[in-house]
């Protein structure tokens, strides 16, 4: 995995990168993040709803309002994800290392790939319209 110009040494390059607690936070955040994002979108739990045409920002989900134009939920889904994934990351920092080390690291890259079929399915509205017109 190494390249010719990046020889391995024993030490990591910064104190944050050497921190066991940061490792627990970062890995838990990145493993849970894609799943939480898909769940917050599927269950429609945005932390905020934004109405760009009138500059209105409200907590939680707010459905169609006459004369307000389209609403945007994407910011809300991201904020929900960041909040929950951060909370899980903080909890993981408290778990003993020997238990945390049992979490398979391949989940970090496999779960985002597994989210893709769900995302495509969740956009069925667009694909149906595209097939119709």
């Amino acid at each position: 995995m190494s390249t010719t110009s990046a020889p391995r040494t024993k030490q990591s390059t910064s104190s944050l990168a050497a921190s066991r607690k940061f490792k627990a936070f970062a890995i838990t955040f990145s493993i849970s993040g894609p799943v939480i994002y898909c769940l917050s979108q599927y269950l429609n739990y945005p932390l905020v709803t934004y109405w760009p045409a009138i500059g209105r920002l409200v907590w939680g989900y707010e459905g169609a309002r006459p004369g307000a134009g389209p609403n945007m939920l994407w910011y809300g889904w991201i904020l929900t994800t960041l909040l929950i994934a951060s909370a899980l990351g903080i909890v993981a920092m408290l778990i003993p290392e020997r238990i945390f080390n049992r979490i398979p690291l391949w989940l970090v890259w496999l779960l985002p790939i597994l989210c893709v079929p769900y995302i495509i399915y969740s956009l069925m509205y667009w694909w149906r319209l595209a097939a119709k017109y």
């Binding site: 995995m1 390249t3 010719t4 990591s12 970062a26 955040f29 993040g33 970090v108 595209a130």
Partner: protein, 163 residues
Amino acid sequence: MRGLISTNTFWTLWLFVHLILALGLLGALTHQAMAVALPVRKPAAGIVSRFRAVPAAGYATAVCVLYVLIFLVGSYIYPQYRIAIRIPLEAGHYYKTGGFFDFKEHVAAIGLVLLPAYWYFWKNSQNPQYDNARKGVTLVLAVAVWFLFIVGHVLNNTRGFAS
């Protein structure tokens, strides 16, 4: 700022900033992905080998900073897309284009949450325990960024600069 230039020019400039930053991220992540997927075992000779032989670990922080910056700029111009671009796209029955933009926004969000682990794995690239995870997450991010770039480019061709 908006008083000095037209609204169209203002948003076009931000879209341009989004594009320029994306080019930097694309280059850095492609170098890294090549370095982990096809590592060079002996001194680089040709242009392809030299492309793969970069000090990939040194890019990790820059990739994270660029990704977050692009994400913030994209988030800033997104409401303009929602009002001035998406509504005409739907009216013109460009549904596949609209669908792929929504696909892009989800991929961008998922890429964002991968950054902490990505950064950690690269900053501990001396530890062979993280080799496979680092390779996997780097390749996933590289594919995601190429996807984001291509969809953004096609969308811009449909209705972008100065629209």
